[in-house]
């Protein structure tokens, strides 16, 4: 039981609710189509083309979210270009961070 300023979170209640929802879904699915033939309808249909071998049908990692990457090229290209694996550039970032933070603290003052 976590009390937060505007709400609470109790996992046990959530789990019970989830189990109830699963049971309801299961009963709905029980009343579904009875004439489902497993062997035939679960095969991949490739427009009548010859069946591909295993490994060719597996979607490799670099194909997933390709569109996401293409859509955000404006953000991604400069970000990836900033990640030069050169150690000197990392140290430039460190020096720049020191300079920026010290200027901010110097301006902001304090007690």
């Amino acid at each position: 039981m976590i009390e937060s300023p505007s709400g609470f979170w109790e996992p046990v209640v959530w789990i019970i609710a989830a189990i109830v929802a699963l049971l309801i879904a299961y009963f709905i699915q029980r009343r579904g189509e009875k004439t489902y033939k497993k062997g035939v309808q679960s095969e991949t249909f490739l427009m009548g083309n010859p069946k591909l071998s295993e490994g060719e049908t597996h979607v490799r990692a670099h194909n997933i979210y390709w569109g996401f990457f293409e859509g955000l090229k404006k953000y991604y290209v400069p970000t990836i270009n900033a990640h030069t694996g050169i150690i000197n550039d990392h140290l430039v970032w460190l020096t720049a961070g020191i300079a920026i933070v010290i200027i901010i603290l110097f301006i902001a003052g304090g007690i």
Partner: protein
Amino acid sequence: MMEHVPLNFPFLAAALLVGISFYILIFKRNLIKLIMGIGMLASGVNLFLVALGYRAGGNAPIYTDVPEGPMVLPVPQALTLTSIVINVAVLALMLTMVILIYRHTGNIDSKKSRILKG
């Protein structure tokens, strides 16, 4: 005896050493020069630490046949000793890794010898 040192000269020297070593770390691509820069950075910090402990006209803080007079602070000297040994250890490990990088990639340029990026 350097009783009257103008404008904190040793502290200024330490700060400038740190600055020069940062210049090396930023602009030198040769890994051996990079390690030299880290060594200079460590010597700048050690100079700063040891200069903190100096007391005008002080002797070394060792009572064996010491002449009369004030003694310089012992704690910064102990800190400097520790930091020197730590620096030696770090440099030894870095040089080992540079040897291995040279064995693998054939050069010690931080741009040409990198594999991981992005």
